[in-house]
């Protein structure tokens, strides 16, 4: 239609420059037009005084429009457009050879089948039209890129789609020849590591247009995809774990499905999930308990729905290091309290958490419980960083700030900030503001705001019904029952506790997990809040009698709420607390032959970062072959060392890192990586038309689909890239001009007739 009225296709207008080639100067034509139009308008304005204002304006406008159109035609407008010289230029044709091209989402045909149609043995109009104009150079690409002699060489088995690298390589390979452009046949489901914007910048600089041909559909008819999993890398054995999954769907919105969690093939949880209604992905949190020690591969899956084309994206796996180690927690109470006995009893069976309790039973008289040696805490609360930092967690009960020296207060703060330990502060008559902590270094580490003035001696007491916030409901440490719904119900049944500390606000960046209503306080008071502070975390639990959830008459004797809560709280407290040497692999799952980074953070026993250490990672493959990979200090960050390793085998690789300083071992750490087929091609596998349109737009090319591809050969011809000539194409004889001229004049005539004018 466009071409019928405007003589040429839109691409000609986009690519061409408008010029006027009239033998008469354009200004003269315009002047003449203005005079003629002025006379006409004056005739209506003055000569027909009996005409009303509105008809005068309409008739004047129609006449001016007709004269303007005529003047435009007389200026002889034309488009100057660069057109390639046939057979003088090269055209790079890049074909996606990855597994996603095997998806049969369009007319029940695999995406790759279109490649055969266009460039197969039988030939096609497209190939013929392109061959007439260009010298064609074919490339295939997936995770690698290479020349393609014949489409029969395509296997569509590539495990990644790296469009950026492919464009970059093609540009370099064809740099020496006159290049009219690149045409990329792909679904656009790019999952490569290279930067697309950098590749496009180079192409822009070289003036090489990239035309993209999108194969596949924008949105599957029916699909469920678990696109992302966020899980802790390390957890203590027996811990409750919360894992966030990003799930999206198409055509199945609102349907309820079962999410199944498997630990190395053993089902550990089945959770019903309602699929989101719209096209936006939704996040689902699933809780389960990790019971087996070691490096464990967890698989999260949803059974394929009927009619799903892509089923591989219904599952996602992640590797979690389940540690059977003992974490040490120091619990210090400034006065004997029931919480000591009940807390110790609640976690007594937890082999992975040891609570060493220190109670100031009288002035300068301390009692120790749960210590492992006669020397442990023998002198009371630790005086040195080495002594304090050997613990992973620290619980401060009801003890006034003035008990500590200034250095000890700083040490407690640094225990969180520098050492990366977990600090749990409990409510009590000598806790928080009531204990004089406002303005101390410990207050800086707390997630709560201490807003009571130190001079305020009035005693606050409130019985409070503790309830989780929406975030608290989903937090792993707050799960009191197997399912979130049951857990919420359980929270609602728990009896009231009491607090002596009025906490109204948390700090920016802190998260509130439990709140309560208190008599005489308008807003809910904070009961449990947490925040990251430096390398560690700080949690405040403001009640003074959590033991009542064990003792209350409404709590059945076999109820484990109290034990569960403390066990989860303490595990959360020490979860992720770093060792002197902590190791992180770039990813928990990698493709074989793809390089990955290994990063280690190295500190001394006082958790001060060490820069001059000798750090070596020993990688052991599944077949038992070990290889040493030296890690170098990154310079960007104190104590951080990095190296690279490329797994050659599929399977679980163990990475053991040893750090030495002045010849002595300062620490060791380990991590695991699973090398194998990630199935990345099946995630986000719909045709990414936005990406492909963007590539074309950025470089001056165009985006096509199988429906519009027939115009590609001619469109590609209009380019200044390569060897080209400039063509002039007249516009004065466009049918639209004559149509409009007749329309304006005819409308004026008809209107005049209607008004009874001659």
């Amino acid at each position: 239609m466009f071409e019928f009225f405007f003589k040429y296709r839109p691409v000609v207008f986009r690519q061409g420059d408008l010029v006027f080639q009239s033998p008469i100067p354009v200004w003269l034509l315009v002047l003449g037009g203005v005079i003629i139009a002025g006379v006409g308008v004056w005739g209506y304005a003055r000569g027909r005084r009996n005409l009303e204002r509105r008809p005068r304006i309409i008739l004047g406008a129609l006449r001016v429009s007709a004269i303007a159109l005529l003047v435009f035609a007389l200026t002889r407008p034309m488009l100057v457009i660069a057109t390639i010289v046939p057979q003088q230029n090269f055209l790079g044709v890049l074909v996606d050879d990855s597994r996603s091209m095997g998806i049969a989402d369009r007319d029940d045909r695999p995406r790759g089948a279109y490649i055969n149609d266009y460039f197969g043995e039988d030939g096609s109009a497209l190939l013929s039209a392109l061959s007439d104009r260009f010298k064609l150079r074919f490339f295939r690409f997936s995770e690698t890129m290479g020349r393609l002699g014949d489409v029969s060489e395509l296997t569509f088995q590539g495990t990644r789609t790296d469009v950026a690298s492919a464009l970059d390589r093609a540009r370099l390979e064809l740099a020496a020849v006159p290049l009219a452009g690149l045409v990329v046949f792909t679904d656009g489901a790019d999952n490569g590591d290279a930067s697309l914007s950098e590749a496009l910048l180079q192409l822009q600089a070289d003036g090489v247009p990239v035309h993209t041909v999108g194969l596949g559909v924008d949105r599957f008819d029916k699909d469920i995809e678990i696109s992302r999993v966020e899980a802790p890398r390390r957890v203590l054995q027996g811990s409750a774990v919360a894992v966030d999954l990003t799930i999206k769907q198409s055509g199945l919105g609102g349907r309820s499905v079962d999410l199944v969690v498997e630990d190395e093939g053993r089902i550990v949880k089945t959770q019903p999930v309602e699929l989101p209604g719209g096209s936006e992905p939704t996040t689902v949190r699933v809780h389960f308990t990790v019971s087996e020690e070691g490096s464990r591969l967890f698989r999260f899956g949803i059974a394929p729905a009927e009619g799903e084309i892509v089923r591989e994206n219904n599952v996602l796996e992640t590797l979690i290091q389940v540690e059977d180690v003992q974490r040490d927690v120091l619990y210090f109470e400034g006065e004997p309290r029931w919480e000591v006995g009940f807390l110790r009893r609640a976690v007594a069976d937890d082999e992975n958490v040891r609570v060493a309790a220190l109670v100031r039973a009288a002035e300068n008289k301390f009692s120790r419980y749960g210590v492992t040696s006669p020397d442990e805490l023998a002198a009371g609360f630790p005086d040195t960083r080495e002594e304090l930092f050997q613990y992973d967690g620290l619980i401060l009960g009801s003890v006034e700030a003035s008990f500590f020296t200034a250095d000890q207060l700083r040490m407690i703060s640094e225990f969180v900030e520098v050492r990366g330990g977990g600090l749990l502060t409990l409510g009590g008559r000598l806790s928080f503001a009531e204990g004089g902590y406002a303005g101390t270094p410990v207050a800086d580490a707390l997630p709560v705001v201490l807003d009571r003035r130190s001079g305020d001696s009035s005693r606050f007491f409130a019985e409070i019904e503790v309830r989780p916030t929406p975030f608290g409901l989903t937090h792993a440490a707050m799960q009191l029952a197997p399912s979130q719904e049951e857990s919420q119900e359980r929270w609602g049944e728990l009896p009231a506790l009491s607090t002596l500390n009025l906490i109204r606000d948390v700090k920016p960046g802190a998260t509130t997990l439990l709140t309560a209503r208190a008599d005489g306080v308008s807003d809910p008071v904070v009961v449990l809040a947490s925040q990251r502070y430096g390398r560690g975390k700080s949690i405040s639990f403001v009640v003074q009698d959590a033991w009542f959830w064990q003792m209350h008459a409404d709590i059945p004797l076999d109820d484990l709420t109290h034990e569960t809560l403390w066990r989860q709280l303490l595990r959360w407290l020490v979860d992720g607390v770093p060792n002197p040497v902590s190791v992180v692999a770039g990813a928990d799952r990698v493709s074989p032959d793809a390089p990955m980074t290994v990063t280690a953070e190295v500190t001394d026993s006082g958790f001060i970062q060490l820069n001059g250490a000798e750090v070596v990672a020993t990688v052991t493959t599944p077949s038992g072959i070990s290889q040493d990979v030296p890690l170098e200090w990154t310079v960007e960050k104190d104590g951080e060392y990095r190296g690279s390793y490329t797994p050659a085998e599929k399977g679980r690789h163990e990475i053991d890192v040893t750090a030495r300083y002045d010849g002595a071992v300062v620490g060791t750490g380990e991590a695991h990586v699973e090398a194998g087929d990630l199935g990345a091609e099946f995630y986000g596998a719909e045709m990414q038309s936005d990406v492909l349109k963007s590539i074309a737009a950025e470089t001056g090319g165009q985006f096509y689909t199988p429906e519009t591809i027939s115009t590609l050969p001619e469109d590609v011809s209009f380019t200044e890239s390569g060897t080209s000539v400039f063509e002039e194409r007249d516009l004065w004889d466009m049918p639209i001009i004559f149509v409009l001229l007749v329309a304006f004049m005819g409308a004026e005539w008809i209107y005049r007739r209607q008004r009874g004018l001659p």
């Binding site: 004997p336 309290r337 009288a362 009801s398 009491s498 064990q550």
Partner: protein
């Protein structure tokens, strides 16, 4: 000032009182007792008079300071006299022996000796009252006369299994032992009563206690020419306990001894100081143990 009082008291009683070899008397305990003499007794006696004729509802309603860490809670239980239609032993029940003076006076000592944020008043609670769960420590004495109702048996059993701690005191001889044993068997039939070894944590929870002394009732002992025991058939003081399947002591039994009288009469210059001292030490230890284990 208190040390002078201590010296005066010790001097006054020396001819009457024979020191037990090896006993570790703590000056701080004595100071505490003197403090009780100087400040607490008048108040305690006054409270006793007020409560002597009080109804149970009036007794139960008098806790007026919630949120404290420790409440010395006395178990109100049914005795034989009451279960047979009487008003209870001595007109108000055997549970009320020494109450409230012993409780309040012991609390004065406890607060002086430790950092415990203890409620200063007595706190009697019925065994079948759900409110008892607010107080993980309860004290019961004269259990030779105990005859629990089914409701009390159920209340006490669930209290102990939920995490509560029971101190038994002031019962003497085989007959009273038999009665107590029958009663506690109704409460905890699955757990045996065992002797507490001298290396048990309860004997070192605050003070190091190396010997179990017999704490006599008032007006007993060598100073009065009377024995410290009350039943000639069994004269040895014993410290026994009941442990749950996790090894946690849930009941501690002071048999053939009367800690309560020592707490009650510590200010009495004729009461044997070493026994009062021992009673306070063991009392503090029992509470510390209960709170931390």
């Amino acid at each position: 000032m208190s040390h002078l009082l201590v010296l005066a008291m010790e001097t006054a009683r020396r001819p009457l009182h024979r020191r037990i070899p090896g006993e570790n008397l703590k000056p701080i305990v004595l100071a505490c007792l003197c403090a009780a003499v100087a400040t607490g007794v008048a108040k305690v006696v006054s409270a006793d008079k007020v409560r002597a004729g009080a109804s149970e509802q009036q007794v139960l309603a008098h806790v007026n300071d919630p949120g404290r860490t420790f409440y010395f809670t006395r178990a109100m239980y049914t005795d034989w006299d009451r279960s047979q239609g009487g008003r209870g032993r001595f007109g108000r029940g055997s549970w009320a022996t020494d109450w409230p003076k012993a409780d309040i006076q012991f609390l004065i000592g406890l607060k002086h000796l430790t950092n415990i944020d203890a409620y200063e008043e007595d706190n009697p609670v019925q065994l079948d009252d759900p409110e008892i769960r607010r107080y993980p420590f309860i004290y019961a004495l004269e259990v030779g006369y105990m005859n629990l109702t089914d409701s009390e048996v159920r209340g006490l059993r669930e209290y102990l299994l939920a995490g509560g701690f029971l101190v038994i005191d002031d019962f003497w001889g085989p007959n009273e032992w038999f009665n107590f044993e029958q009663q506690i068997l109704r409460v905890l039939p699955e757990y045996p009563i065992v002797d507490i070894p001298m290396d048990h944590a309860v004997l070192s929870a605050f003070y190091q206690i190396g010997e179990i002394l017999q704490v006599p009732a008032r007006m007993r002992g060598p100073a009065f020419g009377r024995p410290t025991w009350e039943d000639p058939r069994d004269t040895v003081p014993r410290l026994r306990g009941i442990f749950d399947e996790h090894g946690r002591m849930i009941v501690i039994i002071n048999y053939n001894t009367d800690l309560g009288d020592a707490w009650e009469w510590a200010e009495d210059p004729w009461y044997p100081l070493d026994r009062a001292n021992f009673a306070y030490q063991l009392g503090v230890n029992m509470i510390l143990y209960a709170m931390t284990h």
